[in-house]
Structure formats: C-alpha cells, structure tokens
Symmetry: C2
Subunit: 280 residues, 2 copies
C-alpha cells in the first residue's frame, strides 16, 4: 500500500470521541509523514452523542457504511471502543457494497464485533490494533504511529512478534469474543493462533469468559491460545488466588487447546497489530 497517499476514514461504531482527539491525531500524522501525510477523514458521526453511544444505532451504521462503501477510502479506522458495535452490526452488514471488500479495517476491544463479522464475511484485510482514542494513553503517540504505519505501509515492525504470515492469527478482547459465541457473528477460527486480552474485569469474570470461550466446539479447533495483557483487573472478593495466566493455562488444559504463551497485545500503547487470517 506504499502509494502516494493513504486515505483513512474514521468512524465510531460504539462510544463517541472528542474533536480534540481528532486534532491531536491529525497533527501527529502530519508530523510523522511530512512528505506524504495520510489523509484522515473523521466522519462527523464520531462526535455525535446519543446516550451511551456516538449517535443512535442507525446513525452509527450509516456512518460506517459511508466510509466502508466509499471508493476513495483505503482504510476504515475505528475511533475507539467502549460499547455499541453489536447494536449496529446487523444494519452495517446488510449495507456493505463491493468497495468495502478492498479496504483495511483496524480496531480492537468493542470493535472486535466488527472485525469478527467482516472476517467471517470473507474480508481479507481485517486487523486487531490501536484506535484513534489511544492517543490519550501514556505513550499514545507510539500506538497511533504503529496504526498509521500499518495502514499506510504495512510496516512489518508493527506486527505482534509471533505473526509471521505462515500461521493464521486472530485477536480479541476476551469479553467481546465471549459475547459473539453461538451467534451468526462467531468467526471460523479453525487452525488460528487466537490471541486474547482483557481490561477492567474481575478475575472471576476472566475465568468465566475463558470457560465459555474454551468450551465452544469451534474455538476448540484453534491452533492454540496466546494470552495478551489483562490490565486494570478489578478487585475480586475474595481473592481469586490465581492470576490471569494461571487461569488461561487451566482452561487450555481442561479443553485440550494448546497453550502458546503470552501475546504482545492489550489495552495499552504497546498493543501490536494482529492481522486476521494469514493476511500480512
């Protein structure tokens, strides 16, 4: 994709973002690519507000389709997570047209619902990685630089270190994947290295979600599980007496899914890119 100018469209399928965040990311992109700045278009919907969401379900679906179906856009970049993609996904899928298949899609957390659905629908350039809102994190410029380097140049250094284009891969937030299991959005992950991360959940919830994930017959056909970072784990009452790695190993052991160690992903600025499939 090292063409003259990469055109990136930003949409917010879940929670809203601020104008300030958009300005910061625009400025950073201009400074990182002085000769060929990517063109970043923030759909006005990103700044809309409707209760919990960046606009109502219909508004968010339409904005997503505006960008996804636009012939002059190369990449769809999700603004942020929060919650809400599952409320617009059905309308979003219904409206997809041919140009949507030729694009890159990048996001994580709640956006995993969209990544799953698009990957299941055969889209070839779907990836788990930093979103616009990550600029607000400690070291957030690095995360944004990584996302841009992926979208603009497919820079290999942006990839999770074990992604090699030989093994199929996929990555999800643990809770978000759990909430897709047994629905028509559940992706086929046969033979994939499945990387999982979590944020702001108590250990008993992580344990329960991993029971759920590893008990699913489709998930049992993955090549193995790699655990990303589980950050900001909320208090467990009483103490759970196991950490997230012990929990993940337990469920791999019980389910017969190979435990493949840790993954360099998470709700933080170090969150590396994981393309879905073998599409490096």
């Amino acid at each position: 994709m090292s063409k003259e100018k990469c055109r990136i469209g930003v949409v917010a399928p879940a929670s809203r973002m601020s104008l300030e965040v958009a300005e910061k990311v625009q400025a950073l992109a201009a400074s990182l690519y002085p000769d060929r700045p990517p063109e970043i278009f923030f759909h006005p919907q990103c700044f809309a507000s409707h209760g919990h969401f960046a606009g109502d379900d219909e508004t968010r679906a339409r904005a997503f389709l505006d960008i996804a179906n636009d012939d002059n856009t190369d990449a769809v970049w999700f603004a942020r997570g929060g919650y809400g993609s599952c409320r617009m996904i059905e309308a979003a899928l219904r409206g997809l047209k041919e140009p949507s298949r030729r694009k890159t899609y990048l996001g994580y957390s709640d956006s995993g619902t969209l990544l799953a659905a698009l990957y299941r629908a055969g889209f070839e350039a779907v990836a788990h990685g930093p979103m616009v809102q990550d600029i607000l994190r400690d070291g957030g410029e690095v995360a944004i630089g990584r996302a841009l380097a992926w979208m603009v140049d497919r820079a290999p250094k942006t990839l999770e270190p074990t992604v090699n284009g030989l093994n199929k891969t996929a990555a999800f937030n643990i809770t978000v994947l759990s909430q897709l299991l047994g629905t028509p959005l559940q992706p086929d992950l046969d033979g994939h290295v499945l990387m999982l991360e979590e944020v702001s959940e108590a250990m008993y919830r992580i344990d329960r979600s991993l029971f759920h994930i590893t008990s699913n017959p489709g998930i049992r056909r993955v090549a193995g599980i790699k655990l990303g970072r589980c950050s900001d784990i909320t208090a467990n009452q009483p103490n759970f007496a196991m950490n997230e790695e012990e929990v993940a190993r337990t469920w791999c052991d019980k389910s017969g899914i190979p435990w493949l160690g840790r993954a360099d992903i998470g709700h933080d600025a170090s969150n590396k890119i994981v393309p879905f499939g073998s599409g490096v």
Copy 2:
C-alpha cells in the same frame, strides 16, 4: 412428594456459606414444619474454602455427586451462587448415577449452569428458585419458606404466577445463560417461556448480554422472553438512557422473539419458583 419426611441435601458448587447460615435455615425449617420437619443435610463441603470457592473444583464436584447420587436424598438444594459451577460441571456430569435422576434440584444465579446441564441431560425436576444463603436477605425467611414448600410439598403458591404447567418454562440469570451459549451445556429451550433476571451489572452489560442471548439461533426458538427484576444495577458511564425493560424490549423487537412482559423472579426474597419444562 407429600410423604412423611423430605430429605434435602445442600451442596455449594460455587462460593462458600457459613455455619451460621446453616443453623438459621435449620431452625426456620423446624419452626415451619413442627410435625414433619424436613431433614436438611449440609454437606461439609459447603463450609470449605479454596480461594474464591467452597473447596477446589474436584471437592465441589465430589460433594455434589455425594448428594445427587445418594438414594436417601429427595432434593439437592444449592447453598448459594457467587461463582464457580462452570468449573466443576464437567466432572459433576461425568459422575451422575441413576438415583440422581429421581431428585429435585433447586437454585438460581451461578447455579443456573447446573440447572441448564441437568435439564439438558433430561432431568425432570429442575427448578429456578431461592437458595440457602437467601436467609440473609431482607425478608429472607419468606424465600426459604418458599423453597421448602416447593421441595417438601410442591406447593402451587410458590410458583411464578404465570407458570401453569401448560407452557414450558425456564429461568436464568442473564449473564449465566450468556456464558453457556454455544457450549455443550446450552439447553434446548425451544417453545419455552424464558424468564431472565440480573443483579449487580451495568446497563451496557445487560444490553450486551441480551444482544448475545437474543442473537442465538436456539434462543430465537423460545416462545418468548419475560424479564424478571434487574437489581443493584451499577453505574453506567455515560448514563445509558434506557432502563432494563426498554433494553429487553429492544432486543426482543430486533430478534423477533415475543416480549411477554415482566416475571416475578430476581435476586431478592420475592424470587418465585420456575420449574424447567412443564414439570410442575
């Protein structure tokens, strides 16, 4: 079951309970049935402790089987919820013997995992209703009295008011049912009136779980959904702008599942009995 003496075995498949709770429930049972007090046996495992749980996974499974397979016990009463049934369910199912099929099983919340698995395995007297620990609630004696009246006499007044023995019914905690979908434990609820309740979850989580539940092809074949009480809802940031009934109606509407109104169940002393199937 109005025989001379009902023998009830209590086991704790998730979190532990205290001796004090056991004593209170014994005393209440003696005062409610002065002429034919039910015999309540608290398995010592109820008071065991292992991290988050009432004993480790193997201990909890073995205790459950001690009671379920005992020929001299009429009812298996779950001590309380919390979290942990999904960690012992596989071993529990593996060890079930013939006498286990002739018993009543009563519980809710985390115990929904056991209710689902037993119902799926064809057990005929599985019911959603108060547990031993409910004695600690405001008005908890009423809940315990209701549970005993169900186990001892199958008293019709204990039933959720719309349970009539004509329509098949089932009841679950929303999160617990969500975490069973797409696993071999998911029960066949075709044609059932499905009653759902929740406690201590933020509205966005209730919304997400109802997306999950109503998107499942098996659940779409229920006769309809009735919403029990959603209590102690934790703060949503920002305000979700919909209450639990609006959320449930939205997902019924999107999925085509009939909305059947409210159900008289919940994490409180008024929690009525809902037998699984048409087994009144």
